[in-house]
């Protein structure tokens, strides 16, 4: 693959991979380093890659492997693997009112962080990177139904969290 085409493919995917790394690693600097390292791996191994149509699938697999490797390394160093955990932020003083956007988004940030790694990777690929379910299933080598279920449960967690905390108003 010539360097112009390679640059183009990297350009098309850099932001997406960076966002995936950012959401999974929860740290801007780590995500920045990880993205650079992922694309270095892509560059080093580009000769073993031939089917251009599946470039996204290939690059996402490299990315997820690297991200999980970094997460494991981090958890060994700091003993803080980002396990799924329950998020319960403080209840609003006036639960029936619609909260300020900032507060709402902060709560969303927390609940997205609390998704299990499996749910989160699907959520990010779907919402942030806007990949179709079929593509996500190919990347993760899972059944389409499993991917859709992961996505549903991630969204359900978000919904329940918003509901429990009365962060958005639902009609009676």
């Amino acid at each position: 693959m010539d360097s112009i085409r390679l640059n183009q493919l990297i350009e098309e995917n850099y932001q997406k991979i960076f966002l995936l790394a950012l959401k999974m690693l929860k740290n801007y600097e780590d995500a920045e380093d990880a993205t650079q390292e992922i694309f270095l791996k892509v560059y080093e191994n580009i000769n073993s890659f031939r089917q251009e149509a599946k470039f996204t699938t290939w690059i996402y697999r490299i990315a997820l492997n690297h991200i999980y490797y970094m997460n494991n390394k981090k958890s060994k160093e700091f003993n803080q693997f980002p396990e799924a955990h329950e998020v319960r932020t403080e209840m609003n003083a006036n639960p029936s009112s619609v909260l300020q956007e900032k507060e709402l988004f902060e709560s969303l940030e927390k609940v997205i962080d609390s998704l299990s790694p499996r749910q989160k990777e699907v959520f990010v690929m779907r919402y942030y990177d806007q990949l179709p379910f079929k593509k996500i299933a190919q990347i993760l080598k899972k059944k389409l139904g499993t991917v859709k279920s992961n996505y549903f449960f991630a969204m359900q967690k978000i919904k329940i969290n918003l509901q429990d905390q009365n962060l958005i108003e639902f009609r009676e």
């Binding site: 360097s3 390679l6 640059n7 990297i10 350009e11 850099y14 932001q15 960076f18 966002l19 950012l22 801007y28 920045e32 993205t35 650079q36 694309f39 270095l40 560059y43 080093e44 191994n45 580009i46 000769n47 073993s48 709402l104 988004f105 969303l108 940030e109 299990s116 499996r118 749910q119 919402y127 942030y128 379910f133 899972k142 059944k143 389409l144 139904g145 499993t146 859709k148 279920s149 992961n150 549903f152 449960f153 969204m155 359900q156 978000i158 919904k159 918003l162 509901q163 958005i168 639902f170 009609r171």
Partner: protein, 193 residues
């Protein structure tokens, strides 16, 4: 009329169902206040999440990376392996390993190898026909949430069929919606519930 399973309602909102199912659900929604409310809730959640993601993407632009390959120029690219290594080495090694393992098993194990009693469920909830292996670590979320939900909710018990997974395993992945429906019908006819 029975209310729509929330997973299907979610798929309806995401336009993930066949045109026929979308129409069926749209018709049901005209009649059912409860499902309309559920749908409105999901719409709200999806809209807010989308707003959050849009904002998040905006405030987290990718770090500079123009002409990134130029930065890697001094790093050598790995050369491709020989053709036969790429295509034959792994299968050859795998075959040898299988043969070796078979010999070991043949000589060391008792004559009858006990079969593993795998606990599969086939979930058919219109939107999906999916087999769940309860031993599969990938499906812990389903085990913890979906199955519990099913056990707790009698309405959903119709969605579970204990099916012939061996047959469906090969075909489930490559079905279009109509084929999946056909298969589902067949599964209902032959199922052991």
């Amino acid at each position: 009329m029975k209310c729509i399973n929330k997973k299907i309602l979610f798929d309806y909102l995401n336009n993930e169902l066949s045109a026929r199912k979308q129409k069926q659900i749209a018709a049901h929604l005209l009649e059912c206040e409860h499902c309309r409310k559920q749908l409105a809730e999901w719409e709200k959640v999806l809209n807010i999440t989308q707003q959050f993601v849009d904002r998040d993407v905006k405030i987290h632009p990718a770090p500079p990376h123009a002409h990134i390959t130029q930065r890697f120029e001094n790093i050598p690219q790995k050369t491709e392996r020989y053709f036969w290594v790429r295509y034959w080495a792994k299968p050859a090694l795998a075959t040898a390993a299988v043969l070796f393992a078979s010999l070991i098993i043949f000589f060391l194990s008792p004559k009858s190898v006990p079969s593993i009693d795998r606990n599969y469920y086939v979930i058919d909830n219109i939107a999906y026909t999916e087999a769940i292996d309860l031993n599969d670590v990938y499906l812990d979320d389903l085990e913890n949430i979906y199955l519990q939900e099913i056990y707790a909710n009698e309405e959903l018990t119709d969605d579970i069929l204990y099916g012939d997974w061996q047959y469906y395993e090969e075909v489930l992945d490559n079905l279009d919606q109509d084929e999946l429906e056909e298969l589902t019908k067949k599964m209902y006819d032959n199922s052991v519930t």
